[in-house]
């Protein structure tokens, strides 16, 4: 099975978020971008399938600025066989539809049976890209998926937790999946593999090539105008009490009269 994993580098989870000087986006100065969140699960799921379906290959691809290289190397260190960086224009790499168009265009020359991505990216949380790529390629797609298993000679079975319950699906290939959780927690890379990945080749598709392929669809239509951090919560209003009953009474009064969360 040819498995392509879509990777979007996101800031390390401990990053202190700040707005850029123009206030329009996250200040990426000094921020480390890594392979994280649901994309890590997608890589894990790809590797599990590779281990279970003989002859499988995992190809990691990423659209964005040069920092994509780091995240792609992380995927190689974990066990991906190949990596491709698709260069983004200076403005608009965060438009999920433009990202999807660029990725789908690159996929015209990369073989795939299964596309795996995250349920949503850890930064923008759009949950748009996987479905949009699938629509461009004319293949089925499913988001918020857990537990993808091979089924039959050329199919997959998986679960999808929804508001109504847990759905079980079977699908033929090719298809695209936005992953919520693999069978296992994401593995960590071994040091020798990390060292080896530093020298691994990463194929590059440059932006002019992508732009030419996209033609009139190469300009972004979703642009970040403002990035704002919430006013820090002033800290909890602590409830003073002598007895549990008093605590309960005071809390319920605050919830009804001040927070107005129920009548």
């Amino acid at each position: 099975m040819e498995i392509v994993v879509l990777i979007k580098p996101v800031p390390e989870s401990e990053t202190r978020l700040r707005a850029s000087p123009d206030g329009r986006r996250l200040d990426s100065e000094g921020v480390r971008f890594v392979l994280a969140g649901y994309d890590e699960s997608a890589v894990e799921q790809a590797l599990l399938l590779k281990e279970n379906v003989p002859g499988s290959k995992v190809h990691a691809i990423s659209f964005g600025p040069a920092r994509c290289g780091e995240a792609l190397r992380a995927a190689i260190a974990l066990g991906a066989d190949a990596a491709t960086w698709i260069e983004a224009p200076p403005e608009g790499s965060d438009d999920p539809i433009l990202a999807a168009r660029a990725l789908a265009s690159a996929l015209s020359s990369i073989p795939y049976d299964l596309l795996l991505g995250g349920k949503h990216a850890g930064d923008d949380e759009e949950g748009i890209v996987v479905g949009a790529v699938a629509e461009l390629l004319g293949i089925p797609s499913f988001g918020s998926v857990t537990d993808v298993r091979p089924a039959g000679p050329s199919g997959l079975a998986f679960q999808r937790p929804t508001e109504a319950g847990i759905e079980s699906w079977e699908t033929s290939l090719p298809c695209a999946i936005g992953l919520q959780q693999a069978w296992n927690d994401p593995r960590t890379a071994k040091l020798p593999n990390i060292l080896r990945s530093r020298k691994a080749p990463i194929a590059k598709v440059d932006w002019p090539t992508v732009a030419k392929a996209l033609g009139s669809e190469s300009s972004p239509r979703s642009l970040s105008e403002e990035f704002r951090l919430p006013a820090p919560r002033s800290g909890a209003k602590m409830i003073e009490f002598q007895t549990p009953e008093e605590a309960a009474e005071k809390l319920v009064r605050l919830l009804r009269e001040e927070a107005k969360v129920f009548p």
Binding site: S13, L17, L26, S41, P96, I97, G122, D124, E125, E126, G127, I128, V129, V130, G131, A132, E135, L136, G138, I139, P140, S141, F142, A157, R160, P161, E163, A164, G165, I166, E167, S168, W169, E170, T171, S172, C175, G178, R221, S222, S224, E225, E226, F227, P230, R233, G235, A236, K237, M238, F241, T243, P244, A247, A248, V252, L255, A259, V261, F262
Partner: protein
């Protein structure tokens, strides 16, 4: 300006999903007095009748067997309704299916797209401004969506449900043969209904009561469930609880579990590790109950009680039953 706003409605039998009712409210305000609200749903006549009560000017329906309802199929039908209605904006409720659909529909219909939206405004024809939480609610961004068309998925519970207004709009039936061109053999094999028994599901609930390791033992978790029942809330758990097998992993909130953003989140005996916080910080009001006054959960909470959950929670359940006039059962 007279925009036509299409609501992609989720229905089940005659029931219209809560997030769809929220989308109707937003659609009405975007359409204003001069524009119009129209709707499309996958469902039978009873779905169309229920939808009509929310006052759309026209309705498009397609009947597709539940096991074949994929985002690909719905994108085809919704795009057809969008063309026929000459809509400029398509609104999708913030369900997991709605988010799945957004990217596909946007590509198919040639639109810009955004999900998880908490504010939306028309700046001028062909230009929308949306606001949405990012980084698990640790920041918000404002984006400009340009071009003649946009698909917007709303964040659940960010808007009130629209009241019914009544009406008898024309109903157009979409031809199921539209789907014959879609490729791929995906089939839903089964649906195990959410194990709620009574209460709402975690993703839908307006109130979530979540317990952590501080509940001390599996059997004490029943106190969490009783409090949830008194509030009509869903039950959540920290990973410490699901890892210990006290409750199933479907209840886990956080980075590797579900992300929730209810009106009220009550965290009981949960320390507030960052992996838990990312799944719930965007809740509107947060209450923390913990024996440790230094627990990080108090930094994100609006109201805090330093005390033993095993004593506080039953008292809270009794107090809520009292104010709601519920009997002790």
């Amino acid at each position: 300006m007279t925009p036509t706003v299409l609501v992609i409605a989720e229905t089940s039998g005659a029931a219209v999903a809560g997030p769809t009712q929220e989308a109707f409210g937003v659609a009405r305000s975007l359409a204003g007095a001069d524009g119009s609200v129209v709707a499309v749903t996958i469902g039978g006549p009873s779905a169309a009748r229920s939808l009509a009560l929310l006052g759309p000017k026209e309705i498009w329906v397609a009947d597709v067997p539940p096991e074949s309802i994929t985002s690909g199929a719905v994108a085809i039908l919704a795009a057809q309704a969008a063309e026929e209605s000459r809509a400029e904006i398509a609104l999708v409720g913030g369900t997991s299916f709605g988010r799945d659909l957004t990217g596909r529909l946007a590509v198919r219909w040639g639109a810009a797209a955004a999900t998880g939206v908490t504010e939306v405004a028309i700046v001028r024809p062909g230009a929308l401004r949306v606001r949405r939480p990012v980084f698990g609610g640790r920041a918000t961004e404002t984006r400009a969506l340009t071009g003649p068309r946009a698909v917007i998925a709303l964040r659940p519970h960010a808007f009130p449900e629209a009241p019914a207004t009544g009406g008898a709009p024309p109903i157009h039936v979409l031809d199921p043969s539209l789907l014959s061109a879609s490729k791929g053999g995906a089939r839903r094999r089964s649906l195990a209904p959410a194990e709620t028994g009574s209460g709402p599901s975690l993703a839908d609930a307006a109130i979530v009561v979540a317990g952590g390791r501080g509940m001390r033992a599996a059997e004490n978790f029943r106190l969490i469930e009783e409090l949830a029942r008194s509030l009509g809330a869903a039950v959540g758990a920290s990973r410490a609880v699901t890892d210990a097998g006290w409750r199933p992993s479907s209840l886990q909130v956080g980075q590797t579990g579900r992300t929730v953003s209810p009106q009220l989140y009550i965290a009981v005996g949960i320390s507030g590790a960052i992996q838990h916080l990312v799944g719930m910080v965007s809740s509107r009001t947060i209450v923390a109950i913990n024996t440790d006054p230094g627990a990080p959960i108090f930094k994100v909470a609006d109201y805090g009680i330093v005390g033993d959950a095993l004593a506080i929670v039953p008292a809270l359940t009794r107090e809520i039953r009292r104010v709601r006039g519920l009997s002790e059962t």
